[in-house]
């Protein structure tokens, strides 16, 4: 291996990291703006999180979307209209495979290749070091821009309770793949987010006994409202206070008061946390198949002690603690990452001090991610094009963007937890991106 490998100059080409939904959309948008693109993907196929063959895929065999089809599909490549309202995860993978086939995206993807570092090379250009996953020499290439679409749902957030003395099995939700793993077990599911609630419901149908431990109460949204997918009933454009009122009323009509079953009451208002879309949890709580318990205090031997002193004896503990964003290939200051690990990006996408560096898909929307990732990638591609074609206008756009109030596109008042760092309301977010796209249009 060489100590200082030669740097191959790729001139105006753009580097995309990851071939999940976000990376595929980015590759396509960049091509539509006339860029050559090299996309690097660690795995040997497309699909990212939705590809259950990937080691790091968080999906399990029975997982379905929590966002409905029209709010999840790419805006320029609809899913078949005879698919169900909430497609199965394997349909989403098939859809992403067809997307990359349809637009011939595979030609520009280097599979089995990991990006290990990205460093500024001056002049807004970047040196990208890649390595074949199977081992082998590193390679450095110079690009005009780098777009990270590496996903933020694969690095499990550590579970803070000491489990070293616990005799039962402990696993993160990302390792849960199949209901057979739950059959006949006494299961404790920790975590009140979408994944935690989904797995608790799965366990209720398979396991001998199920406890569900949640630290805080959440606002539940049903999957259906008046016979339509609930996310298709968009709240009218009212002040937040009124929408919160409507939401409380909707919850009263659907999930109802869950404190009756021992779940904590939400300690925050609606729209201040990622909504939990689950119509079945209340059902299984009501049938006694799930027992709601509080926070876990300690785990030792065969016993789990809860914060209220109660003791339970599960033989399988599934921690649905969520995930943390990780950008190991970038020095933290490039994305203005704070000490907690939270990047600070304009529109959660543009690096504030590096106009040729962006991240796609780092969002937690109240709808499907794909449409938002699509429009982010369109904006980034047009931005890179504008910088080349009309630098003066690009500077003016940057000036305008720097004063765009954060509250116009991001939820400012959210529960202080990494789970809600990238929480956005999809309509507000899209309005901001649309506005940016308008500023970038050539004057006619």
């Amino acid at each position: 291996m060489q100590d200082t490998p030669d740097i191959a100059d790729r001139h105006d080409a753009v580097c995309v990291i990851g071939a999940g939904a976000s990376g595929l959309a980015t590759l396509k948008s960049l091509r539509e703006q006339g860029f050559s693109v090299d996309c690097y993907e660690r795995e040997t196929s497309v699909g990212g999180a939705w590809n259950w063959r990937h080691d790091r895929s968080p999906v399990y065999s029975t997982a379905h979307l929590v966002s409905s089809r029209p709010l999840t599909e790419f805006p320029d490549f609809p899913m078949p209209d005879d698919w169900p309202d909430y497609p199965h995860h394997s349909q989403l993978l098939g859809y992403l495979e067809r997307y990359s086939e349809h637009f011939g995206l595979r030609d520009d993807i280097w599979f089995g290749t990991e990006v290990v570092s990205v460093t500024p090379a001056g002049d807004g250009r970047w040196d990208v070091t890649t390595r074949s996953v199977g081992g082998g020499a590193e390679r450095v290439q110079r690009y005009a821009a780098v777009i990270a679409a590496n996903g933020h749902n694969w690095a499990p957030k550590p579970f803070t309770v000491d489990t070293s003395e616990f005799r039962g099995r402990v696993m993160h939700a990302s390792a849960y793949k199949d209901p057979a793993q739950l059959r006949g077990r006494k299961v404790l599911v920790i975590g009140g987010g979408n994944t935690g609630c989904d797995i608790a419901v799965e366990a209720a149908q398979q396991a001998e006994k199920v406890w569900h431990s949640t630290r805080r109460g959440y606002w539940f949204a049903p999957k259906y409202l008046f016979g339509r997918p609930a996310d298709q009933m968009l709240p009218p454009r009212l002040p937040l206070r009124f929408r919160q009122k409507l939401y409380r009323w909707m919850v009263r009509l659907t999930a109802g008061d869950l404190t009756r079953y021992g779940l904590p009451a939400p300690d925050h208002r609606p729209y201040e946390s990622h909504p939990v879309v689950n119509s079945q949890l209340a059902y299984y709580l009501g049938h006694g198949r799930i027992t709601a318990v509080g926070d876990v205090a300690s785990m030792e031997g065969s016993t789990v002690e809860l914060s209220d002193g109660k003791r339970i004896e599960p033989d399988l503990v599934i921690t649905a603690t969520g995930y943390l964003p990780r950008f190991e290939f970038l020095a933290p200051e490039l994305l203005d990452v704070d000490e907690d690990g939270r990047p600070d990006l304009h529109l959660h996408a543009f690096a504030r001090r590096h106009p040729t560096l962006a991240v796609i898909g780092l969002l937690q929307p109240d709808a499907g991610l794909l449409p938002l990732a699509h429009w982010q990638s369109v904006a980034v591609a047009r931005w890179l094009r504008l910088r080349i074609d009309d630098p003066a206008k690009a500077a003016a756009v940057q000036q305008k963007e720097s004063v765009r109030p954060v509250r116009s596109w991001s939820r400012l008042q959210v529960v202080p937890s990494s789970r809600h760092w990238f929480e956005v309301g999809h309509t507000d977010y899209l309005r901001a991106v649309e506005d940016l796209l308008k500023h970038m249009e050539p004057a006619s």
Binding site: K28, E32, P70, F77, P78, D81, Q232, M233, W375
Partner: protein, 254 residues
């Protein structure tokens, strides 16, 4: 113009799915060319392309498909169906619309990044076309104003010696209204090359309208004098389809 990003109508009231009639002719072996999707105008169905163009396109190495408009449709539903079929084909598709089908295609281009598009005898602005229709076929056209549906006649569509008049269907007035009152389509996504073809002797689409449409897409129309409106059914049907495929082959190399 409504927002391309905030699609409230599609989110809250999606177009209901239907079984779509799609006819096709496929080349052997598959030459990896982009597929062609033909979109007929009102009164016509996929049959109009099966007559000559589908088979001819296949013989030149292109998989060719034609989609019939759904019964009791609307512009929104037609656009939805075109995008659904195009996205369901294995490769990025070339959209080829005829008559009002060209209007449907021009709207579909804002929703789907087509490989290329062809607007044949395009009826993009309904009003001048309605004017021309009134002049050549007042008795077929007038009832449309009173809800009686619109009839098309041999004289309007075909050059002498050729007719498919009996296969034409009469569409309800509501369909024409949804087409006539359509707002201008948003800009195409993915900037596909667009070709406009037509005949200076078309009794529905005037020469002026052809020039206007071609100019909108930054070009001049390709003209086939002597032919009627229904280019794909005319006795001289081979000329325009060959010219379209020649143009396409050139564009694909570029």
């Amino acid at each position: 113009m409504s927002s391309q990003l905030l699609r409230f109508e599609d989110w809250t009231a999606p177009v209901p799915p239907v079984r779509r009639e799609v006819l096709s002719a496929l080349p052997h072996p598959d030459e990896k060319n982009p597929p062609l999707l033909f979109v007929p105008g009102l009164g016509h169905g996929a049959w109009a392309f099966r007559e000559h163009w589908l088979g001819h396109a296949a013989s030149r190495g292109f998989s060719a498909y034609a989609l019939s408009p759904r019964a009791a449709g609307s512009l929104r539903a037609y656009v939805h169906d075109v995008v659904q079929v195009a996205a369901g084909l294995p490769r990025q598709t070339v959209l080829i619309g005829h008559g009002v089908g060209a209007l449907v295609v021009s709207h579909a281009l804002a929703r789907y990044p087509a490989k290329a598009a062809v607007l044949a005898a395009p009826v993009l602005d309904g009003w001048p076309a309605l004017g021309a229709a009134l002049r050549t076929n007042p008795f077929g056209t007038l009832p449309a104003f009173f809800g009686g549906g619109l009839g098309l006649s041999r004289k309007q569509l075909y050059s002498p010696g050729c007719t498919y008049e009996r296969k034409l269907t009469r569409e309800p007035t509501a369909v024409y209204r949804s087409v006539l009152t359509a707002s201008r389509p948003a800009a195409p996504v993915g900037s596909p090359p667009v070709l406009v073809v037509g005949s200076p002797d078309d009794k529905i689409v005037t020469r002026k309208a052809l020039d206007r449409t071609a100019a909108r897409f930054g070009g001049a129309p390709l003209l086939f004098p002597g032919m009627g409106h229904d280019l794909m059914l005319d006795t001289e049907w081979q000329e325009p389809i060959d010219a379209i495929i020649d143009w396409l082959e050139k564009e694909l190399l570029a």
